[in-house]
């Protein structure tokens, strides 16, 4: 290959990468600019980003005139509780699955794997009735219970695969020294399994922020709305096209997401890869 064709190839590849970058960035830049542009509908926005002037009106509207603070508080509560609950329940369950032998173990593991590929809103009518019966309909706790139940099958598998890689000799040594199972789990297993636990805490914290289906089904009163419910009303209804307000709300959620993601991406992929190989 001559020097010239090599250079030509490189230029073509660079142009290709720049074009792809523009396509990738376009919607993101556009929504960022919409969040700071006057007007509400996407129809009146200029096609070039940041060409309509600059305003903080939409953020002012969200924070002071809408229920955004309530949505945010509710979502934060649901996300934190779901995250803590998932970590506690799934990690203890995973420890038991990894270290104990008991009846029905194989069947339970297989059914967890099958349940995990099945979208749980298929059973939403039943979930609705069960929560109604428990008096947890239109309550954030009801929503949390549903999220916990949805999170358990896959995450128990994930943590179990991880604990399986920890040598049994480590906890057996502790057991011989007289430590109870709870103590072994707390002082030996949990510290070693910290990476997967952190991963679990983050992923189960993130999911509730943008879930629409279950809050839409289970929450009714305005004081119990979550962020996704509130923000989506700005754009889901075609007669009420308040794209810029939605954009402002989306930006407030997406930017923390992006920061958290960039910080954890390596771990995320290592975990996803490891979960399958084990």
């Amino acid at each position: 290959m001559t020097n010239f064709t090599r250079k030509l190839n490189l230029v073509i590849v660079m142009i290709f990468l720049v074009i792809i970058s523009l396509v990738v960035l376009y919607p993101l830049v556009y929504v960022l600019s919409a969040a700071f542009s006057p007007g509400t509908s996407i129809a009146t926005l200029s096609i070039a980003p940041f060409a309509d002037g600059f305003t903080l009106d939409h953020f002012r509207f969200l924070f002071f005139e809408s229920n955004y603070p309530i949505w945010f508080r509710n979502t934060l509560f649901v996300a934190v509780t779901t995250s803590l609950g998932t970590v506690a329940i799934a990690s203890v369950g995973a420890y038991v699955f990894s270290r104990f032998r008991f009846a029905f173990k194989k069947g339970m593991l297989l059914s967890m794997l099958i349940l995990q590929i099945f979208p749980s809103f298929v059973g939403m009518i039943a979930i609705y009735v069960i929560l109604l019966r428990l008096g947890l309909f239109d309550s954030l706790w009801g929503l949390i219970l549903v999220y916990l139940a949805m999170n358990i099958p896959f995450n128990t598998w994930l943590v179990k695969s991880y604990i399986d890689t920890i040598p049994r000799s480590m906890d057996e040594a502790a057991r011989i020294d007289g430590a109870s199972h709870f103590r072994t789990y707390l002082t030996i297993i949990l510290p070693i399994a910290k990476p997967i636990i952190v991963f679990l805490a983050i992923t189960s914290f993130v999911a509730p922020w943008m879930d629409f289906i279950f809050p839409n089904l289970l929450l009714r009163s305005p004081s119990n709305q979550t962020l996704a419910l509130g923000l989506f009303t700005f754009v889901l209804d075609d007669t009420r096209n308040e794209f810029t307000r939605f954009a402002a709300g989306a930006v407030t959620v997406a930017i923390p997401f992006i920061i958290a993601f960039v910080m954890t991406q390596k771990m995320l992929l290592a975990t996803l890869g490891g979960a399958v190989k084990e």
Binding site: V13, Y30, D164, M210, A254
Partner: protein
């Protein structure tokens, strides 16, 4: 009172019968395991005490309530509550029989140990044993209960509804009752009712086509980006990489809603931009016709999904032995041949499980279809089926449930998805290391 035991195996039958007659009896009478025995006995007593609730609930599950047109609506039998209660009670009964099974097994095991050691384990040792086992029981109980009552019971309910006529307008409780109809719904969907059958066939084919197209485009898209950036030793590669992973970092629902507005056929920014530069004359109906919307969802999904596979390929490529490339290069292999015969097969082999998982995920990729396309475009069967040109099975289930109240057909679709996906789950299970090494 302790009955005497033979340690040569002759009391095996006595143990079996005692433990079968009443849970825990064998533990208390023969083995002096009072705590364990009392626990089992309590479960049995609770179960017997609940019989007055259990029997009517199961009868309700079988009959689904009587027609009571003369009663006011709120006093009539509510078929769906009866169905759910019945399933939940069946779950409780199922748990009871599991505990029953465990108690019998435990009695037999204790007797085997007795025969081997010639004596019962000391009280202290047996209490310690109970304490250890209680960790497993209390550790698993929250998982098992939550999963049974919020995942399994709802899914079993959904599957059972497929065999009832639960649908608008004539069979919606509490005004009317719902009845078991056997396979009727399957018959009408699979050939009995022309419009529904057409709708199902076209949506099922599109679901598989969509899942394949979405997975393949994202996989190759991601791999091409990874290979190009590595192969050409691009300057600024880290900058490009940071840009390319952005779509993966933004919550998918937000991206889909943003794209939906950008691609709006009337006022969307994409159409206005294309017009501004004179690339097109009219408005392109990105989400307006069946063919266009299907093309658009795959493309937007590529935008959202390629970063995942790009990162994955990058990670896998670093693990390939560089000597392979060196040897091939010395033999004069071109860049394309290096990719075709080394990178591609090795990366694909490594990531195959993730490709399969991505395929099953796409079959149920509700967000990409529902939030991007909204309720358009209408097709020939839409007035009856309620499905749009972009709908896959899972979004159709959502519409049948929330908009059309055709719960019976929605459940048939759910059963179908289960039949498609369960083999994948079992395949993954059999592949797992712990299963292959026989640890389970």
């Amino acid at each position: 009172m302790t009955l005497t035991l033979n340690n040569n195996g002759q009391s095996k039958k006595a143990i079996l019968i005692t433990s079968l007659i009443f849970m825990g009896a064998a533990h208390i009478l023969f083995f002096k395991q009072y705590i364990k025995g009392a626990f089992f006995a309590l479960v049995q007593i609770a179960m017997l005490a609940c019989l007055p609730i259990i029997i009517p609930a199961i009868r309700g599950l079988i009959t689904l309530g009587e027609h009571q047109p003369d009663l006011p609506v709120r006093f009539r039998d509510h078929s769906m509550f009866m169905l759910i209660d019945g399933v939940a009670i069946l779950a409780v009964v199922g748990i009871f029989f599991c505990v029953y099974f465990i108690s019998v097994k435990s009695a037999q095991k204790t007797y085997r140990d007795f025969c081997e050691n010639g004596r019962l384990s000391s009280n202290k040792a047996s209490i310690k044993e109970v304490f250890n086992q209680s960790f497993a029981i209390f550790g698993l109980a929250p998982s098992v209960l939550l999963v049974i009552f919020f995942v399994v019971v709802p899914l079993v309910f959904a599957a059972l509804v497929a065999f009832t006529n639960y649908s608008s307008p004539h069979h919606i409780p509490p005004g009317n009752t719902v009845d078991w109809v056997g396979m009727d719904n399957f018959v009408s969907l699979f050939g009995g009712h022309a419009v529904w059958t057409t709708a199902l066939a076209s949506i099922a084919v599109w679901t598989l086509g969509w899942a394949a197209a979405a997975t393949i485009t994202c996989y190759f898209g991601g791999m091409i980006m990874a290979v190009i950036m590595k192969d050409f030793k691009i300057k600024f590669a880290p900058i490009f990489r940071s840009i390319f992973i952005l779509p993966y970092a933004v919550p998918a629902v937000i991206s889909m809603l943003v794209w939906r507005n950008l691609l709006n056929g009337h006022f969307g920014a994409v159409n206005r931009t294309l017009q501004h530069f004179g690339i097109v004359d009219g408005m392109i109906p990105w989400l307006g016709t069946e063919a266009m919307v299907r093309f658009t969802v795959v493309m937007v999904n590529l935008w959202a999904g390629f970063p995942y596979f790009m990162l994955l390929t990058m990670g896998t490529m670093t693990a390939i032995n560089q000597d392979l490339f060196e040897a091939a290069r010395i033999d004069g292999a071109s860049r394309w041949r290096l990719f075709r015969h080394i990178t591609f097969p090795l990366v694909t082999y490594q990531t195959m499980p993730l490709i399969i998982m991505s395929f099953t995920h796409n079959i149920n990729n509700f967000g990409a279809i529902f939030f991007l396309t909204g309720g358009q475009p209408a097709v020939a069967h839409s007035p009856i089926s309620g499905a749009t040109g972009a709908d896959i099975l899972i979004t159709w289930i959502f519409r049948l449930t929330m908009e059309l109240l055709q719960y019976h057909y929605a459940s048939v679709l759910a059963v179908m998805i289960f039949m498609i996906l369960a083999p994948f789950a079992i395949a993954i299970f059999i592949r797992t290391k712990s299963f292959r090494e026989g640890e389970l």
